[in-house]
């Protein structure tokens, strides 16, 4: 019988181990890109400053999508801003996560019948964690972040993989709503 004690790990196993180590670092150091489109953004200052102190979880705001891990979408998304959101999301480096804050990102919230606002963010980019409420408590926001960490730990925060896998579906939804994602007209040159 072959001893299992000294058997070499297969490549997949090694990769998985490394991935788990990486996940440890990733969940303990989440850098946010705040896409503050709506009123829920007002919940972030108390979450970051001395009242709730987000930094103790290793989280902090970042300046550009390239540096960030988490995209925070705080509130409603009009068609114009959705284009930018998709562009920004695609610029982030992987693995990347999305947190939708407020009911607007879930079902459109109070803007559900507006012609200029999309209702479900999940149709356009994959969302890992929702924080419901109009607007949610700061505690709820913090709880959402802790949930995201737990999801990363249990390898369920796979939105970015879904975006690769179902890319055609997402693209189709984007095109259906927006016509084209990257507009090119006289205002954008």
């Amino acid at each position: 019988m072959e001893s299992t004690k000294f058997s070499l790990l297969t490549k997949e196993e090694v990769d998985r181990k490394w991935w788990e180590i990486g996940d440890f670092f990733r969940r303990n150091s989440l850098w946010m890109l705040m896409y503050c489109t709506g009123c829920c953004a007002i919940e972030l200052p108390p979450a970051m400053t001395s009242a709730y102190d987000m930094e103790r979880l290793g989280m902090g705001p970042m300046a550009t999508p390239r540096q960030a891990d988490v995209l925070l979408v705080t509130g409603y998304l009009s068609l114009k801003t959705l284009r930018r959101l998709i562009y920004t999301y695609e610029q982030m480096s992987e693995p990347k996560y999305v947190v939708g804050i407020g009911s607007c990102t879930i079902n459109g919230g109070i803007y559900h019948d507006s012609h200029a606002v999309i209702n479900q963010l999940d149709q356009y980019i994959p969302v890992d964690v929702y924080v419901a409420g109009c607007m949610p408590n700061t505690e709820a926001v913090m709880n959402g972040f802790v949930d995201l960490m737990r999801l990363i730990k249990s390898k369920k925060a796979n939105g970015w993989k879904k975006y690769h896998k179902n890319n055609e579906w997402y693209k189709k939804n984007q095109i259906d709503s927006l016509g084209e994602v990257r507009v090119k007209d006289e205002f954008h040159d």
């Binding site: 180590i21 670092f25 102190d53 290793g58 550009t64 999508p65 390239r66 540096q67 480096s93 992987e94």
Partner: protein, 307 residues
């Protein structure tokens, strides 16, 4: 030779570990100052390793090459740094000018890579960084000129040793230059804040203004390597200061204490400040600090008035 180089590499590694831990501790201290709990003390390690584990984007070979040159240059600079009187890789060759100019290779690499990303904000950041450098470097160099002239050495460990023990026949020896040249010390401290890119002179990072300047396009491993580079740069600059003004260190514990004190005080001061505009930085440094530096140099070199 091989032993020395291995020794140098361990000095650079020590510098990285030291500065990264102390930066973490400082984040905690700043958190407490702001009545927050603050992050874990090893948060900076987590950040760096997280960045190294991510999959980033690249804008072409110069983008990557610049990062490698930046980190390589800074590691090379750190390898020359003496830690205590005898703990150094290349005794006798820890010339002050090596640090000032070899560090520039790293800076140049980073600037090159940032401009190579094709983002205008990165170029603006580099422009501001270089302009800030032009501002703070001159007063600092004048003070160091005074020190080298007084001690007759440009080797860091020799300067440190000069301050530690009073030798008969050697004028001015035995006092820390922090005390011997108080005005110069104040000027150099301001320059150190500029060097470290701390708050009033943080113009070239300015996250809210130019989206973190040179770093705008980095993510993943490139940004992680630049973070490592930044930590080692801070290590070099703060230990330079310790050796020049605080009399170096007889043993490693003294070094750690002095290092911690210098870095923490810079951090505390910077956290109650706003941010200058870039031309204000230049005007600021060329007004009082330069004047005081020249005054201190005149008084110390020509008149011999040293405390």
């Amino acid at each position: 030779m091989i032993i020395s180089i291995l020794m140098g590499i361990s000095v650079a590694f020590f510098g990285f570990v030291l500065q990264t831990s102390i930066a973490g501790v400082n984040r905690k201290i700043i958190g407490r100052v702001q009545k927050r709990y603050g992050p874990k003390w090893y948060q900076e390690f987590l950040d760096i390793f997280k960045l190294l584990s991510k999959r980033s984007v690249t804008h072409g070979w110069i983008f990557d090459f610049g990062v490698i040159m930046a980190l390589g240059g800074i590691i090379a600079t750190a390898m020359f740094m003496p830690i205590t009187n005898d703990l150094m890789a290349f005794p006798g060759f820890d010339n002050f000018f090596i640090f000032v100019y070899l560090i520039a290779v790293g800076m140049l690499g980073m600037a090159m890579s940032a401009s190579g990303s094709g983002n205008p904000l990165a170029s603006i950041g580099v422009m501001r960084a270089l302009t800030t450098m032009l501002a703070y470097e001159i007063p600092f160099m004048i003070i160091v000129l005074t020190i080298i002239k007084l001690t007759g050495h440009s080797s860091l460990s020799e300067i440190a040793m000069f301050q530690q023990t009073a030798v008969a026949g050697l004028e001015f020896s035995g006092t820390w230059f922090m005390i011997a040249l108080p005005v110069g010390f104040a000027v150099a401290f301001l320059s150190l804040m500029g060097m470290l890119g701390k708050k009033p002179f943080e113009t070239y990072i300015a996250p809210a203004e130019i989206a973190s300047g040179p770093m705008v396009e980095y993510g993943g491993k490139q940004l992680g390597m630049l973070f490592i580079m930044h930590e080692i740069t801070v290590f070099i600059e703060v230990s330079l200061f310790v050796h020049l003004f605080l009399g170096g260190a007889e043993n490693i514990w003294i070094f750690l204490i002095k290092y911690f004190l210098v870095y923490t005080s810079v951090n505390l001061i910077s956290n109650v400040n706003g941010r200058f505009k870039i031309d204000q930085v230049v005007v600021f440094f060329y007004k009082w600090p330069l004047l005081f530096a020249v005054m201190q140099a005149f008084v110390a070199i020509y008149l011999g008035w040293v405390i």
